[in-house]
């Protein structure tokens, strides 16, 4: 039963993001930069909820890792944009990401204890799977600027490590 619940939660998490996936094609470099930055901010927000609600040491360590790594990636993005003397551009996909995150945040805030831990872990897995697919299969091939492309490639390495970690965490909480 727990396994089924976890699968449903993971599917819901995936849907929350993939429902917006149709809007992510055709972005220019600066829109992609904005969307990537937004995706980082959203995951930092989820981690802050986990630190406020969870007493599970593994969940808390993962949440701290998300804050540390995604903050560092966004600092790297800001430095690159400053170097290129450009500004990231808000766009429909960034807005859709934020709308999906608002819904997910409400869901997570309604849960406590082990149910919260499972939901957070499943959401992290689904979120990273979806974002990694978009970054790897759509954004990196589409980006024109070589430095932005290189930045996304390195960011994707980080996010894939997170995905593996989240997958391990979901398995532990079954």
């Amino acid at each position: 039963m727990t396994r089924i619940k976890t699968a449903l939660i993971a599917a819901a998490a995936l849907f929350a993001v993939s429902g917006t996936a149709f809007a992510q094609a055709g972005l220019n470099d600066l829109e992609i930069a904005h969307a990537a930055y937004t995706a980082d901010i959203i995951d930092i927000g989820y981690a802050k909820i986990a630190l406020a609600k969870s007493h599970n040491a593994d969940i808390r360590a993962f949440a701290e890792l998300m804050i540390r790594d995604h903050t560092a990636v966004n600092e790297g993005a800001a430095a690159l944009l400053a170097k290129l003397k450009v500004t990231a551009q808000d766009n429909a996909f960034s807005k859709a990401l934020l709308a999906g995150a608002a819904t997910k945040t409400t869901e997570l805030n309604a849960l406590d204890g082990a149910a919260f831990d499972r939901a957070y872990a499943a959401n992290e897995l689904g979120y990273h799977q979806t974002v990694n697919k978009i970054v790897g299969e759509t954004w990196i091939p589409a980006v024109k600027n070589a430095e932005v492309k290189s930045f996304l490639e390195q960011a994707l390495v980080t996010f894939k490590v997170h995905e593996e970690h989240a997958n391990h965490m979901v398995g532990m909480l079954k």
């Binding site: 960011a155 390495v157 490590v161």
Partner: protein
């Protein structure tokens, strides 16, 4: 006076323990220590440079470089012969090994 200066310089160089130290460079990139395995002698310096955006550490039993942000460098002087295993405190799957021999 001019005779004294060269003598002082030679004395200082001979007395400096730094002359015997070798600095071994280890890169941290794409969530791995490169090279993952190195050999060093007691007194040598191991220097890690983080090329990832994600912060990392090189942490062993009783020592750590502390947090290394992007492009930051941290050092550790190996003091005992043997095999030193270390890892990143933030990403424990990242591991490295230093095989330490007696001082040269």
């Amino acid at each position: 006076m001019s005779r004294i200066i060269p003598i002082i310089i030679v004395t200082c160089l001979c007395a400096s323990p730094l002359l015997a130290q070798t600095v071994h460079q280890v890169d941290i990139k794409t969530f791995a220590f490169v090279p993952a395995t190195i050999s060093a002698a007691v007194g040598d310096i191991i220097e890690w440079t983080n090329h990832d955006f994600a912060p990392h550490t090189a942490t062993g039993d009783g020592w750590s470089t502390g947090e290394l942000k992007y492009d930051a460098t941290g050092r550790y002087i190996v003091s005992v012969a043997g095999v030193v295993v270390y890892h990143c405190a933030y990403h424990p799957h990242m591991t490295g090994t230093i095989t330490v021999t007696e001082a040269k």
